[in-house]
Symmetry: C2
């Protein structure tokens, strides 16, 4: 209980792989590792998104719209509680226009038959103001 790992845990590799695809406009990398009961926050939403079907519809609207050349997970940390793994990090992405675009991120993964699935995603801007 309370075991902490940095950067080595399997969920960090899953997150990086999904972000590689995301930076090429493909949200499919995230959708493929989300559980049916995933919940999701980002700064453009009036309400939390509940469930993979709703998140899929949302991401479908974003397909091809995101592009960055590289990204950085800053100080990723994984807190493991049994079959739950809580990944937190600051994040920066760099596009053709420069950047960086800075974010805070919390991903909660649940282990299911030795596969980790995202059950909660929370993206927010690092240093934000109300829109």
């Amino acid at each position: 209980m309370g075991e902490q790992l940095t950067d080595e845990h399997e969920v960090v590799a899953l997150e990086r792989a999904a972000l590689e695809r995301w930076g090429k406009g493909d949200p499919g990398g995230f959708l493929e590792i989300c559980a049916p009961d995933v919940v999701y926050f980002d700064p453009s939403l009036e309400r939390r998104i509940d469930g993979l079907a709703a998140l899929t519809r949302y991401y479908e609207g974003l397909w091809g719209t995101v592009s960055f050349e590289r990204f950085e997970l800053i100080n990723p940390q994984v807190q493991v509680v049994g079959d739950a793994a809580i990944l937190t990090f600051n994040y920066a992405s760099y596009g053709a226009a420069g950047g960086p675009s800075r974010w805070n991120c919390t991903e909660v993964f649940r282990r299911e038959a030795d596969v980790w699935r995202i059950i909660q995603t929370h993206w927010s801007y690092t240093i934000a103001k109300r829109a």
Copy 2:
């Protein structure tokens, strides 16, 4: 695994009690239910805060600065994974100046000897732009 509860789970009551004190300028209600390894994000921070000592220093700087008359947890949901409970909600607080102030929140609790402790907090504005 994947059990979902709404509004009845013990951690929702803990969150409400801490928010009652928070609205009176007292962050102590949160500090008392945080684990030593708590991590924390909010929109005013350049980086994630790591650990209860650092979070205590941060909250001490906010003591007496926050005031609201009432608040609302909108559609709170708890995802339970063994000894982890992931509470997510949209949030609105209403002060003397009106409001509401709208937020997204993720709180991850860990059960330790039948007591729930916060190990991850992520507050962000609902509908935000970069500062």
